[in-house]
Every structure is written in C-alpha cells, then in structure tokens.
C-alpha cells in the first residue's frame, strides 16, 4: 500500500547539496565574466567547464551514496526567495533525483572531456563551453529541485542552452545542415540550417512549457504551494480536480512540457533537426540528458497522481484516461520514429529517430504502469523501475553512439552514411564500442538495453494495453533492424558513394569517453542482477510513495522470464537475420528498386520525409499563422489609412464646406439675411396666428 512519508518539512538552511548545480552555474557565470573582460584563451574555457562539471559530479555521487545509505535528503533555504509565491531554494534528493543527478553529471563530465578535443579551434568555442556548463547546471537543477518553479527554471535553462547549442554554427554553412539540400516534401523544404533548427527547437519546447506553466499555476491555486513533497503529502488537489471533472484535461496540459521536451508525438519534429548542433551536444542534450527531462517529469509526478487514486473511483477513472493517452502517445512515437530510422541516410538522424523512439518506450513504460491504478503500488513500482532503468541504459549507450558518430562524421567529411564504409578496418576500438552500444540498443542479452526494454514492455503487458504492447514489440524488431543496417553500412560494407574521408582511430581524449560508455553498457548488463536491486531500492521510496522492495524485485524476475519475452527476442532475431541477409549475402541494391517501383518509392518517401508530419505542420500551422499575419497586416494598413488619411480628409472636406459659407460676398449675405428674416416672420405669424 501507499504510505505517506514524513518528509514534508525540509531541513532548514540551504543545504550544501545545492552545490550539485551551484558549482556549474558559478562556472558558467565566471566564464561569461571572463569573456566580458576580454579573456579569449580557449583552454581556460574548455578546462574551466570540465572542472566545474566534474566538481558538481563529485558532489552528486556523494549525494547518491548518502541517499542510498540514509534515505532522502530534503533541504531548503530559511527565507523565501520569492516571498509572494512562497518559493524557497530547495533540494530534494531521493533515489530518483540522486540517480538522475549522477547520470547527468557523470555523462556530462565525459562528454565535456570529449568536447575539449572535438571543439578545439572552433571560432565559437568560448560560447560553446559557456552554454555547455550552463546546460549541465540547469539540468542538475531540474532533477534536484524540490519545487515546481525551480524545476521549471532548470527546465527553461536547458531549453535556452539547447537553442543556443543547436544553433552554435549560426552562420549556416551547408556542411552544418541537416537533411538533403534541395529536397522538398509536399512543397516544404526538408533541409534545415542551424539557425532555423534552433528556432524550431525553442518553439516546439516552448509551446509545451506553456502547458506546464498553466498546470503549475492551477495546482498552485489549489494548494498554495509549489513544493513537490508537499504536493505528494497532501493530494486533496487531485481529488478536487477529479470531482469537478477536469483532472484528465489539466494533467494533459500539465504534461505537455514533458511531451515536448522528450519529443513525443506530436512534438517530435524539433529533435530530428536538432542534429545541426555539434555532435557532443547531440550526445549530451539530445540523447542522454535533456530529452530525458520529460521522462523524469513523468517518473516524478506519476506516483503523486497515483496517490490521489486512493480517494476513489472518480479519480481512478480520470487518471486512467490520462495514462491511457500518454501510453498511446509513447507507443506511437516509438513505432513511428523507428520506421523513419529504417530508411534514413544521415548517421546522426538515424540516432535521433532512435532516441525519440526509445523515449517513446520510456513514456509507454511509465504511463502503462499508471494505467493500472487499481494495482497502484505494484504498478508504480514496475513502471518507475522500467522507466528509470531504460532511461539510464539508453543514456549510456546512446551517448556512446553519438560520440562515435561525431568521430565518424569527422573522418568521413560527410554526415551521410553512404560516404562511410569499411571503418572497422581502420578503427578497431571504435568498431568494438559501436557494436557494444549497438547491441545494447538492439536489446540483445546480456546488454543493459535488453533488461530495461523488457521491463517497459512488461509494464504495458501487465496493464493490458494490447495495442500499445504490440506496437512496442513490433518496434523492438525495427530497432534491431535499423541498428544493424547502420553498423553494417558504416563499419563493414564498402562505401556506397565516393568518399574523401581519411579514416583512422580517434585520439584518446575522444576515444576514451565512448569506449568507457560502451563498456559500461556491457558491464551494466552483466551485473544487472546486482545493479537492479540497488536501483530499485533507490527509487522504492520516491516521495511519499513507498513500495516494498520485494515487489520491485519480483516484478523484475517476472519480466525477464516470461514467454512473451522470448517471443520478442525471437522477433528481434528474425529482423536481424533479414537485414543481414539483404545487405551481406544478397547485396540488394535498394536504389535500383526505388527507381523501378513506384510503390517502393512512395513508401520510402513517406518514411524518409518523416510521414510528412513536418510538411503538414509547416503548411497548416506555420502557414496558418503566416497567412493570418499577412491578413492582419493588411487590415492594419486599412486602419492606418482610415485614421490618418480618411479621417483628416473628412475634416478637410468639412472645413471646406463651412469655409464656403464665409466668402465675403455682400449680395450673398444679403440674400441669406432676407431668406432667414422671411423664415422668422413666417414663424412669428404662425405662432401668433
């Protein structure tokens, strides 16, 4: 059963744990000041960033140790930061928050080290490391904040950094674009400059954030607090909304921020074009951390929502509809993005599609668990465990894949996989890393991706969401297929097109981070039996939700030993075999098939142009606003003419009319005089007569 914990009162005083994000923020501020006073030495910026992030990571690791040993940490400042709204600066570190903080800070540290080499000599390197550090600080604030407003500030901070880093090469040279230059779908260009992608990312996520803001405001008005532990401790607000019948709608609005941040349908488009950013940014922000913020939000909030379900049937029914929709969106995203990855010809795009798809799994896992509100405690346990497990394993292997992609694109002088090939010959360690991370993505046992993905599918199955489960299972095969295609194409098959690349092994500063990450993916999988209970223990006491540890562990055992699991595994095997057959022994020439068959081309274009969703958004939404803007500007001109030309003209006309009566002609005046005199006489005659 759920039990409300006593953790509603923070320890007074700003706890030293705020250093987790405080140090990187301070680092970013110092870098900004140095830039202002004229320091331009690249090393100061790169190593300054690495140092401040590393120190933050040390505090985070220590915090996790303390949390696992002594239970959650909850500290807040003595006085209000924002008096009216009772906002304190506070840190809430339970298993979930601490694990997230460690994942974020350690990955950021490794990727910062990689960036030192990757960004060397870049013309905007100072700006890069400033926003990089600012990003890490914001992300850490997001996952450790004790209240919604602080979380929102971190949330927006990550968005700002993401915008700035996607558009890092804002002078828009063609080598930094995404998409095939010149390609159009339904008349809408399908290639994107960095500065365009930046605006897209900002707009898509900002739209979601407005929903988050509205949800926060509504909850605040009901509870007069933004504090997450307080919201969990007293869930009367959920009951109140449910009795009024607005719970489902409000929760969906509240979760829009999460959907947008994690690129779930219908917000997925921004993540694809975010690939114009430098590759380490794609690895960190658009694979390992920021896009996980939405999943974190769900992991953080879903248990609180479920607490309210205890109040009765009305709440439960509305929660079910909410979770049903969220699970559906997750499943659709997972499937849709995987199909796009099958045909993509850009290395980073394949990885981006894959990221959105895997995020869909995580949403599915968490939301499906919430859907079983009647078995709330077990479900929450499984769902949270599934979501967090997959979040962690994905963060590791996807970061590795992106970092590898960064190196491959560098040596190939091209972002297209057709210009790459046979790289396994030149870089053994990179190939090893790619295989390890790739197998994890394919969810092959015993790599970590296998366990975590099975948990999420299990969650959907338990919930009885047959369609969502089926889509998830289908996606498992697709995932394996596109991953194998990517690795074969890049590492083992000869290049399809002429290339000017000079493949050779990466320098240590770049190689070590991704090698470490892919080895971790392997080690995590091998040690899963021991890692998982630790993870489970960490999250079993999230907020007021306290789930018996046994249930969490039990859920896991069930998950990996069921017949369905073996079934999915077989389907993955079949997919792999097909891809291998098509590419290796059969050597199918897909280009010729596309040339000959209209149907094949239609299917290919549908997938390649991302189900035409981008085009539809541009035609209807962007085009709609542009059209409205045109109409309003036209109306505005009419208004301008009416006020500033027609109205004065009217006065000029009236003045001319009145003036014409005063022309100074005596006979004219005399005639008027006689005329009016006659009128007056007539009037007098009638009045007296």
């Amino acid at each position: 059963m759920f039990a409300a914990s006593a953790m509603v009162n923070p320890n007074s005083g700003l706890m030293p744990w705020a250093l987790i994000w405080g140090i990187p923020y301070l680092g970013a501020a110092i870098l900004a000041i140095l830039f202002f006073v004229g320091v331009r030495n690249e090393k100061i910026y790169s190593w300054g960033a690495v140092t401040s992030i590393g120190l933050g990571a040390l505090v985070a690791v220590y915090a996790l140790y303390k949390v696992l040993k002594e239970g959650p940490i909850y500290g807040a400042s003595n006085t209000n930061w924002v008096p009216w709204l009772n906002i304190k600066i506070g840190v809430y570190l339970d298993g979930l928050g601490a694990i997230m903080a460690v994942i974020v800070s350690v990955l950021s540290f490794l990727i910062a080290v990689y960036s030192v080499e990757y960004m060397r000599g870049d013309w905007g390197v100072q700006r890069y490391f400033f926003f990089f550090t600012f990003f890490v600080a914001s992300m850490l604030l997001l996952v450790t904040a004790d209240n919604l407003v602080l979380m929102f500030i971190g949330w927006e901070g990550t968005g700002l950094a993401s915008y700035a880093l996607i558009g890092h090469w804002y002078t828009d040279e063609e080598e930094y674009w995404v998409g095939v230059p010149g390609r159009k779908a339904l008349g809408v260009p399908m290639y994107f400059e960095p500065s365009h992608s930046g605006v897209r990312a900002l707009m898509f996520t900002r739209i979601g954030d407005i929903g988050l803001l509205i949800g926060m405001s509504a909850i605040y008005l009901l509870t007069h607090t933004f504090s997450i532990p307080l919201l969990a401790a007293n869930t009367h607000w959920i009951v109140e909304l449910a009795t009024k019948g607005s719970l489902t709608a409000l929760l969906i609005v509240f979760s829009m921020g999460a959907l947008a941040k994690s690129a779930q349908f219908p917000f997925q488009e921004w993540l694809v074009t975010a690939m114009t950013g430098p590759t380490p940014v794609s690895a960190l922000i658009h694979a390992a951390t920021m896009v996980k913020a939405g999943v974190y939000f769900m992991l953080r909030m879903a248990p609180i929502f479920l607490l309210g379900a205890a109040a009765g049937h009305v709440v439960a029914a509305q929660l079910q509809s909410y979770f049903y929709i969220m699970a559906g969106l997750g499943a659709i995203t997972a499937f849709m993005m995987a199909t796009m990855a099958l045909v993509s010809n850009e290395l980073k795009l394949i990885l981006a599609y894959s990221t959105a798809s895997q995020l869909g799994y995580m949403f599915l896992g968490v939301a499906a668990a919430g859907y079983i509100v009647s078995k709330a405690n077990e479900a929450a346990a499984l769902g949270v465990a599934a979501g967090l497990s997959h979040l962690m394993s994905h963060a590791i292997f996807k970061a590795a894949l992106f970092l590898i992609a960064g190196w491959l694109i560098h040596v190939a002088h091209s972002r297209f996989i057709d210009h790459m090939g046979n790289y396994a010959k030149y870089m053994k360690l990179t190939a090893l890393s790619m295989w390890l991370a790739g197998l994890s993505l394919m969810a092959i046992p015993p790599l970590s991706g296998f366990f975590s993905k099975e948990l999420t599918l299990k969650s959907a199955e338990e919930a009885g969401l047959v369609w969502d489960w089926a889509l998830g299972a289908l996606t498992a095969g697709l995932t394996a297929a596109y991953t194998l295609r990517m690795i074969l194409r890049v590492m083992h098959l000869p290049p399809k097109k002429e290339t000017h690349g000079h493949p050779h092994e990466a320098p240590p500063l770049m190689l070590i981070p991704y090698l470490l990450l892919s080895l971790t993916a392997l080690a995590l999988g091998l040690a899963w039996v021991w890692v998982y209970p630790g993870l489970a223990k960490g999250i079993s006491e999230t907020l007021a939700v306290q789930v018996p540890l046994d249930e969490v562990k039990q859920a896991f055992t069930i998950a990996v030993t069921s017949a369905k699991t073996l079934g999915t595994l077989a389907w993955v095997g079949v997919s792999l075999a097909i891809v291998w057959y098509l590419y290796v022994p059969a050597k199918i020439d897909f280009d010729r098939i596309l040339e000959r068959s209209t149907i094949a081309r239609a299917v290919h274009d549908f997938l390649f142009d991302r189900w035409y969703i981008n085009s539809l958004i541009y035609i209807f939404i962007v085009g709609g606003f542009a059209g409205l803007s045109l109409i309003l500007a036209g109306f505005n001109n009419i208004l301008d003419i009416a006020y500033h030309m027609a109205l004065p003209a009217l006065f000029v006309l009236a003045a001319a009319g009145i003036r014409s009566l005063h022309r100074g002609k005596t006979d004219y005046y005399l005639m008027l005089y006689l005329y009016f005199a006659a009128l007056v006489l007539l009037y007098l005659y009638i009045a007296w007569g």
Binding site: W84, G159, S195, V199, A218, A249, L628, S629, A633
Partner: protein, 515 residues
Amino acid sequence: MYAGIPIWYISLVLPVLVGIVALFASEKHGRAISWLSALTLIIPMIATAYYWAVNAVSNGVVDPWVLHLEKYGLGTFYLFMDGLSAPIVVGVSLVTAFVAVYAYKYMATRIEEMREEGENPPGLGRFFFLYNVFAVAMLGMGLSSNLLEFYFFLEISLISSFLLIAYYGYGDRKKIALLYFIWAHIAGALFIAGSLVYGHYAHSLDVVRIVSGKVTYVSPADELLGSAARIVAGVMLLGLFIKMAVLGVHMWLPYAHAEAPTPVSALLSPNLIGLAGYAIVRFVLPLFPAELKSIHGYLILLAVSTIIYGGLVALRQTDFKRFLAYSSVSQMGYLLLGIATLTAYGIGGAILHYLTHAIGKAVLFMVAGVFITEEHGLRDMTRMGGLAKYYPFTAAAALLGFMHLVGMPPTLGMWSELLITIGVVKAYPAVNTGNVILVATMLLLAYGVSAGYAFITMRKVFYGRPREGYKHEVLDGFKTTVVILAVLGVLLFLGIAPLMAPLKTASQQIISLLG
C-alpha cells in the same frame, strides 16, 4: 510613512536643474551632462533600495511636502510610492538613467548627421533638458495620488516627448510629431474629462489618500455618479487605452516610436505607454470596481487579441524599430491581460511586467540604436543577418531583451509571466474541462506568438549568413550600457524578493476594493 526628507521632490527637481544647466553649457560638456543626468535620474532607484532596506516600501513612502488644494475642490497632491508603484519607479529610474548615458554618443552622432544634411537641430544641451523633463514627468506619473496631478505630469511628458520627436526624429518627423501629439492629447483629454465629471460630484480629484501615513483609497464612484458611472469609466478607460495603444487605437504608436530618436523610443515605448496600464490599476479600478468587473471578460479577450495582433503584425515589419514598436503593442496586451483578470496575482503580474518590459524593450531599442549609430543608419532588417558574429555583446544583450519579453528565466520576465498566468487561471479556474481548454488555448496562442516573433527576429537579425560587410564591435561605454542594463534584468530575476513582498500587499489591498 512620511519620508524624513522630501525625497520625491528631490528626485523630480534635480534632473530638471541639471537640464537647465545643460541648456547653457557648451556642446563639449555633453558627456559630463549625460553622466550628471544619469546620476540624478538614478536617485529614485537608490531611494527605493534604501526604503526596502528599512522595510518601509510595503506601507508606502510618502513625501513630507504635500500640496493642499481642497479649497479649490481639487483634493490633495501627494507624492508617494508603495508596492504597486515601486516597480514603476525602479523601471523609470533604471531605464532613464542608463539611456541617459547611452544617449550621449547616439545623439552626438545624430545631431552631427543632421547638420551634415544641412539642417540645424538644437544642440545636445536642449536635448538633455527635454530628456530630463520627460524622464521626471514619467516618474511623477508613477508617484501621483490624484487624477489632476497625474494628468499634469502626463501632459508634461507629452509636450517634452513631442518636442524631442519634432527636433531630432527621423522621416517626416514634424508630421509624425504632430500625429503623436494629437493622439496622445485626445487620450489625455478623455482621461481628464472623465476625471472632472467625477471631481465635480466628489468635490475632489483624489483617488489615494494618506491617512496617518498609510495608503488608502477613496470610496468607489458609483454612489456619486449613479448610472453615469459606466460612461465616465468608459471615457477614462478609452483615454488610457489610446495611450496604451491597445488593439484598435494603436495606430499612432508605430509612427511615433519608430521615428523618434532611439533614446527617446527607448523611454516612450516601454515606460510611457505602460504608465497608462498602471493608471488603470491605480485610478480606474478603485473608482469603478463594479464597472470593471462587469466587463472583465471582454477585456481579457481584448488583451489576448492585442497580444496576438501586435505580435503577428510585428512579424511582417522590415524596419527594426517599427518591429519593436508593434512588439510594444503586443506587450501592452500582457499588461491589460494581467489587469483584466482582476486578481491580485494578475495585477501584480501586470505591474511587474511593466518593469520587465521597461528593461527588455529599452535594451532592444538600444540594440537597434547601436546599428543605427555604428552602421550608418542600418535599421532595415532585410539588410541584416549574421550580425552576432560582428556584434557578439550586442547580440547577447538582444537575446536577453527578447527573453524578457517572452518570459524566460533567468530574466525578470519569468516572474511577471508566472504571476499573470496564475491570474488568468484564477479568473478561469480549472473547475471544468472547458475552462482548462479555454485557458490553454488563449495562453498557448498568446505566449506562442510572442516567442515566435521574438526568436524569428533574433534569427533574422543576428544569425544566418551576413548580408553585407559590417564593422567589428568595439565595446565602448555606449554599448556597455546596453549589456549592463540587460544583465540587470537577470540580477533582478535573482533578487526579486524586495519588490515581491510589497507588491503582494499593494495588489491585495487594491483587489479588496472589488469586494
């Protein structure tokens, strides 16, 4: 409480004295005059900080010099500051002081350019005289307690800004100055006409009265005016709407704000027009609470329409300053939106948004001015692009400026947006699915359009491939003021507490009048 010294009179008089000195000073002392102006204009800001430190802002800080005009039936003229006016005072003081420093280089270049064109504009001395008069007139509006007192400062601000546009403006400046004067004067006339009707029956034009050192409001005008109350309220609101440039009566603003010399635009656009919004809260709401309540749904609609309309029309502009002018129309929608919710949160948010917009929009106008000064009058956005590479600090300041308007942390805009959002949700509580959808639709459209025009323009001006050869930025005092003002918006985001607690008290006090 009454202040120990006549602090507000000092704040109003000293800049004017500097201005008078400037009239007689020689041209070569221009820089000293601009710094001296800035030093006297920052006094109210320092005073506010001091009164916050001694915990006096919440109760109101009243100038000990009081003008008693009761025997003429005009009431009492106090100069006072409470939680509602503190953001106004800070906004006016900060922006006018920074722009004063900024104005030196800009106006020196502008005057020289006009002389090269064979015109004979008045020198820097007259500029700073008019500038300082304009600045203190706006400060006076924020400190007024009485309708006539407010109107007096309103007209001074109008005359001084009219002359500034007529002397130093761009384009067809004499005509535009006249256009501005007529519109603004109609606005002022409507406001004072309504006020005088009220004053005729009330035998006083007071709205705020200081009773034993505390701010209190006179009782609503319904009983005095009866059925005429609606008309009087309507006339006063219309006047203030024109001044604020709400959708429908906004047409004068793009001309005046785009063609004024840029330092004047930087005061006109955010500071002056926002004061009309402040006047709605301070004067119209206490006198006509029932009337406002009866139309507040329509006002919310008007506000949201203004935000969307201003934003979308702004998107079609190619002139940077004209774009900013339409953006101001849109931003006034936010002020009206907060006010129209008739909740303490919304009103507090609107007043705080005055300060947000003051900083953000002033920074953006100053950015536009940097290009006009440094790139030979460059203000056509079709000729811009990739400017961030040449002007990195100016670009950073512009980004912060836009973030203010959009309400993104870490800028002050975050707090005003949050308060306004809470206000809107309180006006349409989440008690049924319809309300949730209504609020979500309105705010998604409004906030979405704001973010859209802000970041699309940021891209147009600063990113992409450079359209032509530009100079490389040299960080002189001129541009440093822009950067520092933008950073102050971030510091105010962090240090919001001093403004927030008094704002709460004052907003709740004024909302309690609604009954």
